[in-house]
Amino acid sequence: MERKGDILAGLLFSTKVIQNVLIAYDIYHMKICCPEVAEKAAPGQFLHIRCSDGPTPLLRRPISIAGANEKDGTVEMVYRVLGEGTRLISQKKAGEILDVMGPLGRGFPVPLDAVDPVLIGGGVGVAPLLYLAQKIAGPLSRSGRSGAAFIGFSTAGEVFGVDFLKSCGFTVFLTTDDGTAGQKGVPTEAFENCIKGHEVQKQFDIVYACGPKPFLAKVKDAAVRGKIPAYLSLEERMACGVGACLGCAVKSAGEGYKKVCRDGPVFEAGEIQL
């Protein structure tokens, strides 16, 4: 899609859906063709997706980028059907047009030095971590370091991403709330047990996490106790997605509020109060 002028370097795209399939309970994997986004996107950034041509549901839906391939120009998203908006997105078929805005927001800082990273994801919060894993897989294997991923879901039917994370060189610790897959429990506990050396002692240099707010609060506490820098990706309802409407506020560690869409969705744990 051609746009004029450098200010229109591209945030609005009419893209083609390549694939949109159910991969777990209420979880869809969508692939679209958008070379501009594939080229620019960073892990942790999101796309703001229009779900209807009409006035209901009115707003776009922010969905994190789960993968991008510069070579073939494809961008992937893994999302959960939560309401009417995401339900409509899930009905898009291959070949149909998807109106997207992005890539938006501030993503995860990808480490330049050799580090042992840990990814911690809850439910559909695992999605942006897949893209991050894809980006750091190369440096990880070259530097001979090892990464770990603690991911949790409510039940076996909701699990996704395990094989992909393994293929990127991560050791995966899977938990489910009901114990139907992996260990019974939550990934934040598994992570804490790990750094405390209860089972396998392991030290990490950097934490990357995404999930609901209470989940991230636990990650933050554990990271602070373990003195590990942590980057947290927040999920929030948004209107404009670009920092104009001031709707997606999160309490700043200092005074006032940060905006999840523009200042985040990824924050250094010390920047915000959860």
Binding site: P55, P57, L58, A239, C248, A249, G256
Partner: protein, 343 residues
């Protein structure tokens, strides 16, 4: 159809080719190249959307409301989507007038588009002070006096719900400011006509309406109101018929220009407002869904003027000047209603 007939020049098409469209409007002494503005609070200070599209094509830019001192705004949640609408409880989060002048104005003043600053206060005195301070800025087009914000403890809407206090605030701003003054009115009143007339008599150079409609939402899982302030402001296509009715009423009540807004998403919506009496329109919530909505509306207005019946009647009556002027259709629905036959 007969081939010969197709090759004959169509008189209407011939006419359209020869006629020019003039979208210019002048409101409160501000010359705008077209009547499409962005609504306060939906456009920040222009920086975000300047990265997405050419904002220099807009008729005017209206900033987020600013106050004398910085404000943090309301705690989250601040948004709730409703059928064809959006409830917000942002609460006037803004950097305050001094930081606005330091950090935002240097960029805004370079825009080749008129910039209107929306101002708000807790007291008449605050409105007066902020108006005085902003009048020192060189190149600012106008002040929009927000007497209609539903999301703050004091001031805001309280001033806009009573003709006496609406008069008082606008009068104070008018006395303190050397700039044109636009009064932004609330729909949450019994008689918009009384409020509009009051601000006109206080010296307002134009009125803009509507601000958001008071509403609320209840969280059925937590069994309590969604918003900490209970009530919030509704915008989006859902409020359009209310806004249109109030623009119609305001147009009949005052002589100063009316700037119409409230749920405008397409050029058709914009035309409705203009025919109902709006000399200019503002696009708000629609820009969240399609940032280019204001530009599409400008293009649509131009096509409408060329193609609509105005053009046909102009065709019959026009003399030398073949320019179709947007300002000629402002409030036309009133005239057509009075003169027309509804039976």
């Amino acid at each position: 159809m007969n081939r010969d007939k197709l090759s004959e020049p169509c008189p209407k098409m011939e006419y359209i080719r020869n006629c020019a469209v003039d979208l210019c409007v002048e409101i409160a002494g501000i010359s705008m190249k077209n009547p499409v503005m962005v609504a306060s609070g939906t456009f920040g200070f222009g920086e975000e959307y300047a990265k997405i599209y050419d904002i220099n094509r807009l008729g005017a830019v209206v900033t987020k409301g600013i106050t004398l001192l910085p404000r943090h705004g309301n705690p989250p949640p601040r948004l709730c989507e409703t059928p064809a609408g959006l409830l917000n409880s942002v609460g006037l989060e803004n950097p305050g007038v001094e930081r606005f002048i330091r950090e935002e104005w240097p960029r805004l003043k370079k825009l080749p588009v008129p910039v209107i600053v929306n101002i708000d206060g807790d007291t008449v005195e605050e409105y007066r002070e902020i108006a005085k301070r902003l009048s020192e800025l060189n190149g600012l087009a106008a002040l929009e006096v927000n007497i209609s914000c539903p999301n703050v403890e004091k001031g805001g809407i309280a001033f806009g719900q009573d003709p006496g206090s609406a008069y008082e605030v606008v009068r104070a701003v008018k006395e303190a400011a050397t700039l044109p003054v636009i009064a932004k009115l609330s729909p949450n009143v019994t008689s918009i006509q009384k409020i509009a007339a009051a601000v006109e008599s206080a010296g307002a150079d134009a009125v803009s309406l509507i601000n958001t409609v008071l509403g609320m939402a209840v969280d059925i899982d937590r069994q309590r109101p969604v918003f900490k302030r209970i009530f919030a402001g509704l915008s989006g296509p859902a409020v359009k018929p209310i806004a249109l009715r109030m623009v119609w009423e305001a147009y009949e009540a005052v002589k100063i220009p009316v700037i119409g807004m409230g749920g405008i998403s397409t050029w058709r919506d914009a035309v409705e407002f203009i025919l109902a009496g709006a000399s200019a329109v503002a696009v708000g919530t629609a820009g969240f869904i399609d940032p280019e909505a204001p530009l599409k509306i400008i293009d649509g207005l131009e096509k409408y003027l060329v193609e609509c019946s105005i053009c046909e009647s102009a065709l019959k009556t026009s003399g030398e000047d073949k320019t179709i002027k947007l300002r000629d259709i402002v409030g036309l629905a009133h005239k057509n209603f009075t003169e027309g036959d509804f039976s």
